[in-house]
């Protein structure tokens, strides 16, 4: 019954990002080579992977929020806040690294809990609830900080700068976070319930899934991911930065990476693997433009085009398959 054989995986929205990544690597690589540089030199690979790591960790969290049919717009401010919490708690002392990590996780979990409670108990639309919480944090940051604050001991900067061979430690952290979330989705009840909740809230609820709990947990995990990204950025910058999240555009970029990875904004369909592809794709495009020293305005335009084109292709495919299905029935 359970025949196992090799066949080409069917191309659909959830894995369409990989061929796109391959194309970006080939085309981008050739363009950079024509320009006399190399996209695959050690230094550019390292900076590419480092860039991917920060966004990637946030995007993995965003993936599960979107998969669950929700969304988190507060991540950018959580990153800024947690970078400050980390740097100020550490205050340059080695002994405070662990307490600082604990504090960051606690603060980000609390924000996630708040997001989750607003969405499930007060029934506020996720878009509005997380935007509101984000603005709240933003207000606090603007009130309290004019510029970078706190400082991170050298021991903690290993996270931002060390490498294993050509691979930065931070990228391994991203890979670990992604793998953990992937495994959670695949093999835990919570993971199954999360996808069900995003797929159809009523179906999940009528099947006995405690959807409120699922959504709250999901938002806590999403915020924790943002907190981890905040730790990484604090380690990179050596201090806490009140605008690092918003200036990095982590809120919308993370959503873009998730969507590029084929996760449907409505929820219930997609996964972490696609998001990893989406993050890498964005990082490659960035790297190519940096190497070519293209105007940043043009860079933004190309990113916009790529994202819209990807979603259009997915939507087209989706419509085609549903048309085929309809035709088969009608």
């Amino acid at each position: 019954m359970n025949k196992r054989g090799w066949r080409l995986p069917q191309l659909d929205a959830t894995n369409g990002v990989w061929p796109a990544l391959a194309v970006a690597l080939v085309v981008g690589g050739s363009l950079v080579a024509l320009d006399g540089g190399s996209l695959f030199s050690e230094s550019s690979t390292i900076s590419l992977l480092q860039r991917a790591a920060g966004l990637g960790i946030v995007a993995v969290g965003q993936t599960i929020a979107i998969l669950a049919g929700s969304l988190d717009l507060s991540v950018a401010y959580v990153i800024s806040l947690t970078s400050l919490v980390a740097a100020e708690t550490m205050a340059g002392s080695d002994g405070m690294v662990l307490p600082a990590i604990g504090a960051v996780l606690l603060v980000s979990a609390a924000i996630g809990l708040l997001n989750g409670l607003l969405i499930t108990k007060l029934r506020i639309n996720a878009f509005i609830a997380t935007l509101g919480v984000g603005l709240l944090i933003k207000g606090y940051l603007e009130q309290g900080y004019a510029g970078p604050a706190g400082s991170v001991p050298t021991s903690f900067q290993h996270l931002g700068y060390d490498r294993v061979g050509p691979i930065p430690l931070s990228f391994l952290l991203f890979a670990a976070v992604a793998a953990a979330v992937w495994f959670t989705l695949r093999s835990t009840r919570y993971g199954h319930h999360l996808i069900a909740t995003g797929g159809d809230l009523d179906v999940a609820r009528l099947s006995g899934v405690r959807t409120d709990l699922v959504l709250i947990r999901t938002h806590v995990i999403c915020s924790l991911c943002a907190g981890i990204a905040g730790l990484y950025l604090a380690s990179r910058l050596g201090a806490g930065a009140p605008r690092v999240g918003a200036e990095g555009g982590y809120d919308l970029e993370s959503i873009a990476a998730v969507v590029l990875g084929g996760t449907v904004l409505a929820g219930g369909r997609g996964g972490v693997a696609g998001t990893v592809g989406g993050v890498l794709l964005l990082a490659v495009i960035d790297a190519v433009f940096n190497q070519l020293e293209v105007d940043s305005f043009f860079k933004q335009m190309v990113r916009g085009v790529v994202i819209v084109a990807a979603v259009a292709v997915y939507a087209l495919r989706l419509r085609r398959t549903s048309d085929q299905r309809k035709a088969a029935v009608a």
């Binding site: 093999s187 009840r189 996808i195 999940a204 899934v209 219930g268 369909r269 029935v329």
Partner: protein, 505 residues
């Protein structure tokens, strides 16, 4: 054979329910025995769905008792009903299309092994359950969205069985099935019956009730009219119990022979991707019935005329003038109206008011703001004329019965004074009383000079209403039949058993 053991699986006694002081269910008794298919029939609003919801724990009864295998039970919520062994198969499936069959069946109760979901056990048990009801063709690891509607229904049933359901409530189970899938459902129902499961079967389609059930309970206005053995019932008596009217009085008189006027809509060799070249003439004053199996191109024809998926080849003439209808907007402006098959999906803005829905076409096509009060008045009159029963024109349309929703859609098109009306399954999912009202309206429209094309899968309706019948097969017209042809003649053409263009009844 219906083994009626003494102990009913489900026994409801004196069940009553009122909403906001309105009594919707009053003193209803019902016994469901193991291995029995018990049909529940009645008009919309008769209380069927309230009774179903009480049996499945969605509503709490105000009066009366429920017993399961002789033990009194209360069902505070749907989960309690599930746990007690009562499963319900809704018209709209409660499945996740993006997940596998096994994941759907065990949603909320995934088997664990060392704290993790045991996929292998989940798939093995799903396969067992599927094999147990003779449906091993469905793979547990297949995505539900890739299955046919009939197969999805099987998954829904398996999901209920996985909870050891002994009582299965099926709400209009054939509503979303294609014709050939209905037979498969019949076979499945009989296998479930043989396993001793009691089935409460709710359906508008009397054919199914007679084919499947052993007993029938008729509800009317929230009360039980009668419960009788199916063997002793006839369609006439059932309908009389439901509405107090004989079956033969169903359909309004046809147009007098030869009274049809000039051709309003003419198709000559008109075709597109789904239609082979079609020749058709639709005259004013007549109701032209379009029969055929599901997928034979009936809806494709209506959609093409209405400009949704327009014709690519051939000609469409309106009053003898060749026209290209490229969009519904153009069609509406040309005086064509289309009452779609999928009322909720394509016909209504569910969360808008009755009035908004009735004004939809006018507002879209002729946005004359200065006339809006006058227009609302006209539409209110039209709503009265078609006898819409609603709490008011500001009521959200989702709360209306299917029959009343359909009347609102009719009012919407009547306001446009169309000359060509396309009806696609105009009475699907509508109760018997409202059906008659809609049939009357359709006939009156024709009598007032409109040209009506009516697609119907219900043969009695098709034959009872039409002045002429064309039957479609494989995207082409298989033949034409005169008024009052036999069901066999229609089916003969639809299935290809008869191939003559003219078959006399």
């Amino acid at each position: 054979m219906q083994p009626d053991s003494d102990q009913p699986l489900l026994r409801m006694r004196g069940v009553g329910k009122a909403f906001f002081g309105v009594r919707v269910l009053d003193d209803v008794d019902l016994d469901l025995h193991p291995g029995q298919v018990h049909a529940l029939v009645g008009e919309n609003g008769a209380g069927k769905s309230t009774l179903m919801k009480i049996a499945s724990g969605v509503y709490q009864p105000d009066a009366g008792t429920l017993e399961l295998s002789g033990k009194p039970v209360t069902l505070p919520d749907p989960r309690a009903a599930q746990a007690a062994g009562i499963g319900i198969i809704h018209q709209e499936f409660n499945l996740l299309p993006e997940r596998t069959v096994a994941e759907n069946v065990f949603l909320g109760r995934e088997p664990l092994r060392r704290g993790l979901v045991d996929r292998r056990a989940m798939q093995a048990r799903t396969a067992e359950l599927l094999a147990g009801i003779g449906e091993s063709a469905i793979a547990p690891q297949a995505k539900v969205g890739r299955l046919s509607v009939a197969q999805q229904q099987v998954v829904e049933i398996v999901k209920a069985l996985a909870l050891d359901a002994r009582v299965l409530i099926m709400d209009e189970p054939t509503a979303s099935l294609a014709d050939h899938e209905v037979e498969l459902l019949y076979a499945l129902v009989r296998r479930l019956q043989a396993r001793g499961i009691g089935i409460l079967y709710v359906s508008h389609r009397l054919t199914e009730v007679f084919d499947l059930s052993g007993r029938i309970t008729v509800l009317k206005d929230g009360r039980r009219v009668t419960t009788l053995a199916t063997a002793e019932a006839t369609a006439d008596t059932l309908v009389r119990h439901m509405v107090g009217r004989e079956l033969s009085h169903y359909y309004p008189d046809r147009a007098a022979p030869g009274s049809a006027g000039a051709a309003v809509l003419t198709l000559s060799a008109a075709g597109n991707g789904r239609l082979r070249p079609v020749d058709l003439e639709l005259r004013s004053g007549e109701v032209l019935g379009v029969g055929g199996l599901q997928g034979s191109g009936r809806s494709a024809l209506a959609r093409a005329v209405f400009g949704i998926d327009g014709f690519r080849t051939g000609q469409l003439l309106l009053d003898g003038v060749a026209m290209r209808v490229r969009s519904p907007r153009q069609a509406v402006r040309a005086g064509i109206a289309y009452v779609t098959e999928d009322r909720k999906g394509e016909g209504l803005a569910l969360s808008q008011s009755v009035l908004d829905n009735a004004l939809l076409a006018q507002r879209a096509v002729t946005p004359r703001w200065f006339a809006r009060n006058a227009r609302a008045t006209t539409v209110r009159e039209l709503l009265d004329a078609v006898e819409v029963h609603a709490a008011g024109t500001e009521q959200e349309i989702r709360y209306l019965s299917g029959g009343n929703q359909q009347k609102v859609i009719l009012a919407r098109w009547l306001a446009m004074k169309p000359r060509v009306l396309l009806f696609d399954e105009p009475t699907r999912g509508i109760d018997v009383g409202a059906k008659a009202a809609i049939h009357d309206l359709i006939r009156r429209l024709a009598a007032d000079g409109a040209a009506v094309l009516m697609i119907s899968s219900e043969l009695p309706e098709l034959i009872g209403m039409s002045d002429r019948i064309v039957v479609m097969r494989d995207g082409a017209i298989a033949g034409e039949l005169p008024a009052g042809s036999s069901e066999e003649a229609v089916m003969g053409l639809a299935t290809g058993a008869a191939t003559n263009t003219e078959v006399t009844a």
